[in-house]
Assembly symmetry: C2
């Protein structure tokens, strides 16, 4: 209308930078990737990139937040209950086998961000706490419906499932012939009544 659609001028460039940065961080981690390298792969110089994202850490956080939005973690996750959420995790693993870049990104970064000095440390602490809580709730709901094998503690099962998914990603990245979803499905299947 009377205004300027100038707000998202350069939105295309921003998106290109974020896509490229995701791929680069995935391949070599945050520490192993240079701002110059990302900029070059975008057809930019590095000052041009730093115009859009003032620091390298800002760029990393933008990549992570963008993926959170795209994945719709808040949306598609909060709505799922009980076994449906567990099924969703298996489906996600199957989906991830088709996008090695995303798997590499999280596998590499979650290990790197273990260091309290890493710019994404707080992000991953929160991420895991939230994920465990969601999965624990799902297990508790399954148990309430009588669908869980006796003797299984929801909180423990949640930690195990999240850990299993992470560990399988590393094995899969080292040897892509392994089927992540199959192993997860077998694990969850063995826990249901």
């Amino acid at each position: 209308m009377s205004g300027h659609e100038l707000t998202d001028r350069g939105a295309g460039t921003r998106a290109l930078i974020l896509d490229t940065a995701l791929a680069a961080f995935a391949e070599s981690g945050y520490r192993g990737t240079s701002v110059r390298d990302i900029a070059t792969r975008c057809g930019l110089t590095h000052p041009a990139l730093l115009y859009h994202f003032p620091t390298k850490a800002d760029l990393l956080m933008a990549v992570l937040r963008r993926r959170d939005d795209a994945e719709g973690r808040a949306a598609g996750f909060a709505d799922l209950r009980g076994a449906a959420l567990l099924d969703h995790l298996v489906a996600t693993a199957r989906l991830n086998a088709g996008r090695p870049g995303v798997v590499e990104l999280y596998a590499t970064l979650s290990a790197e961000a273990t260091d309290p000095g890493h710019p994404a440390h707080a992000y991953f602490v929160d991420r895991y706490a939230n994920l465990r809580a969601s999965v624990a709730r799902a297990y508790a709901e399954v148990a309430h419906d009588g669908g869980l094998r006796p003797g299984i503690d929801p909180a423990t099962a949640a930690r195990q499932l999240v850990a299993l998914m992470d560990g399988l990603q590393i094995q899969w990245l080292l040897d892509p012939s392994l089927d992540m979803a199959e192993a997860i499905e077998a694990h969850v299947g063995a826990q249901l009544a």
Copy 2:
């Protein structure tokens, strides 16, 4: 005798370098650690360090091989059968909770080494293949003795257990209040007949 015991002159320095390098790689990963930093922490200059280990990649591989020897992977592992090997893994997890440096080293490096261009890539591909094979054999022996719950495939169970251990390490590094051994024990316990 008639010779020179000069062979292990400087062996003390080598050992000091390897210990320090392990700690440094554990804290910041391979890519995030500089040779200068390791040398300084040893009270050396970096050319002095590079006299003992010609390149940074050589140093990393020496650290890994030294730990393989110290841990006696070949020795203590090849001798264990069936449930005893699985118990040993639980015991190792309990032990690891007392040496975060080692956990950090392997968690960080195994993710980093996912990149085929990483100097330790081949090492970790082999390491995981061997570990899975040993654990699968242990599950098969347990099954043969009638100790495994029906419907559990040894090879799948091995991949799951190795993955669980890896994933729990990341969660533990992000939140050391979590008990790794407990979660592993619960998992294995649920698989035995």
